[in-house]
């Protein structure tokens, strides 16, 4: 019995390594090829570069306008995250405290946003009428709109767990609604706010469709759009493409490694309740 169990555990570990390997190969492929010379990167292999070429990154940053698009991505994702977290937490708080018909209906209406698809064509009309098309505030508001439903859904679960007695005690102490929320409730939601912010930042950093539809000028492009364009231009220079992809993914990977707890925690919070 003991040996059988050991054998099963051994097989399990083999399986774990096998899957991890399949997940890692593409990443390793990108990393090693990003350091190869032009001649060496003609075919994409997992072999280590004969000599490590760092100039690829310089070339990519210059030719791919990576710095500009990096700053754009940072601006869009950063601003959208701040607005989403602020408005999202305020809305989630109101919905969770008003559990009457209107409150529940408003919450449902908001969460329906997770389900309904965006009509990009008609959205263009709205963007033109509101003078938001091809503009920085426009793209930030679009990111905000697409992220709000999930954020409200996520934060609603957390804020519901904060006891209402606390609100009543605060009111007796003379708190108004603004001080009650920003002084007491918001700080208590801190860990869930971080989770929501990290998820929102990652999602908006990776966003590709909205800028594809609504940002025409290349100097406003975020990293995803810049890397796509670069890919089309340098189809044969795999070393440059890999360097470009690596630099684009790097912020996400760093963020993932440092905030893994919040990312996985936040994702599972929504799903694991039963």
């Amino acid at each position: 019995m003991q040996t059988k169990k050991k054998a099963i555990n051994f097989m399990k570990n083999i399986l774990a390594w096998l899957i991890s390997l399949i997940m890692l190969i593409p990443l390793v492929l990108i990393i090693v090829n990003a350091f190869k010379s032009d001649a060496e990167a003609l075919t994409l292999t997992l072999s280590l570069p004969k000599e490590w070429t760092f100039s690829n990154f310089v070339t990519v940053i210059e030719k791919g306008k990576l710095l500009q698009s990096f700053l754009n991505s940072l601006l869009y994702a950063g601003c959208a995250t701040i607005i989403v977290v602020l408005f999202g937490s305020m809305a989630a708080y109101i919905f969770s405290r008003r559990r009457d018909r209107t409150g529940n209906a408003a919450y449902m209406y908001m969460v329906l946003g997770i389900v309904i698809p965006i009509n990009y064509v008609a959205l263009m009309k709205v963007m033109q009428v509101t003078h938001l098309n091809n503009s920085v505030p426009g793209i930030i508001l679009l990111y905000t709109a697409t992220q709000l439903p999930f954020t409200v859904f996520l934060l609603y679960g957390f804020v519901s767990k904060i006891p209402v007695d606390l609100d009543e005690a605060a009111v007796i102490d003379g708190c108004g609604p603004v001080r009650l929320f920003f002084g007491i409730i918001f700080p208590m939601m801190r860990s869930s706010i971080v989770t929501a912010a990290v998820l929102c930042f990652l999602n908006t950093w990776n966003e590709f469709v909205m800028p594809l539809y609504f940002l025409n000028s290349s100097e406003k492009w975020p990293m995803t759009l810049a890397v796509y364009n670069f890919f089309g231009q340098y189809e044969k220079s795999w070393n440059l493409i890999c360097a470009d992809i690596l630099l684009t993914c790097l912020p996400v990977i760093i963020m993932y490694l440092s905030c893994q707890k919040y990312i996985v925690g936040g994702q599972t919070e929504g799903a694991v309740k039963g």
Binding site: L15, W17, P26, I94, G113, S160, P177, Y256
Partner: protein, 291 residues
């Protein structure tokens, strides 16, 4: 203090206004535009009745093919990701050395940009220089090498395979968290009653994972119906529309200035999702509604 004063609606106004203006209103006016000849080529917009919808469902156009492709993509990827995810979660939830490393690696694809994953796989699946065909040649399986993304017979399956690679780790992680949350006493009690491993799985594990599975399946269906980045990066609908899905078709119409057709297909999606959405929202918010 009264509820209305303590929890003022203006707190929720910001979120509701932005969401309504940019998500809901386009969906609704889009339905109106679906009955017109709106395009980039004429200044005036005329009412044309059901013309666009007739075009959508007629045999002369490919739209039905795009709709069935989208449904096929959704069904195949959802079933494969959930099945593999469950299998791996059961195998890997306990007794794994370096479990945090493995979980970290397996979850990673779901934080990366879908577009970039697509681009990376166009190089992996490249028939000449890509690592997949090279590996097959090295181990002597030359006959298995394929034009993965340009052969009309297999291109769509390649796209789905890449998406399964991307999404399985996410479901697995959710399910592992779910499995670890099941109190150990249940299994011990069942063990005392002499239940077999299979019986424990059917009567304890599976029922306890029902909600997690339901949520992940709903999220996957939603993703599949709206899929764009992955297909756009890998094949852009080609070769010859064999991998075209609804949203790549919408983008093509948009860039060609065929706005009316683009908004018609979007509206069909919108109506389908709002109607079925009610059911999906029920699944997502199940616990909260009961509270």
């Amino acid at each position: 203090m009264k509820k209305s004063k303590l929890y003022p609606w203006y707190f929720a106004a910001g979120a509701i206004i932005i969401y309504t203006t940019l998500c809901v209103i386009p969906g609704i006016i889009g339905i109106g535009y679906a009955f017109t000849d709106w395009s980039a080529y004429s200044k005036e917009i005329h009412f044309v009745g059901w013309e666009n919808f007739k075009k959508l469902f007629s045999a002369d156009t490919n739209y039905m093919k795009y709709i069935t492709n989208t449904l096929l993509f959704t069904a195949v990827t959802t079933v494969a990701k959930s099945g593999l995810g469950l299998l791996f979660a059961l195998a890997l939830s306990k007794n794994i050395k370096l479990k945090n490393f493995h979980r970290g690696v397996m979850y990673m694809p779901s934080v990366l940009s879908i577009l970039i994953i697509g681009l990376v796989f166009t190089s992996i699946l490249n028939p000449k220089v890509g690592i997949l065909n090279q590996t097959l040649r090295t181990v002597g399986l030359d006959s298995m090498t394929q034009q993965w993304l340009t052969n009309p017979k297999i291109a769509f399956w390649s796209v789905m395979a890449v998406d399964i690679w991307r999404g399985t780790g996410y479901i697995m992680t959710m399910l592992i968290v779910g499995i670890l949350a099941i109190p150990q006493v249940y299994y011990e009690a069942a063990g005392i009653d002499g239940a077999s491993g299979w019986n424990k799985f059917i009567h304890i594990t599976l029922p306890m994972l029902k909600q997690t599975l339901a949520v992940t399946i709903v999220l996957n269906v939603l993703y599949g119906m709206k899929v764009f980045d992955m297909v756009y990066a890998l094949t852009n609908g080609g070769p010859g529309h064999t991998t075209e899905v609804m949203y790549t078709a919408v983008f093509k119409q948009f860039s060609q200035g065929l706005y009316a057709e683009g908004t018609t297909i979007s509206s069909v999606m919108f109506i389908i999702m709002v109607v079925t959405g009610f059911f999906m929202i029920k699944v997502l918010t199940k616990d909260e509604v009961q509270e």
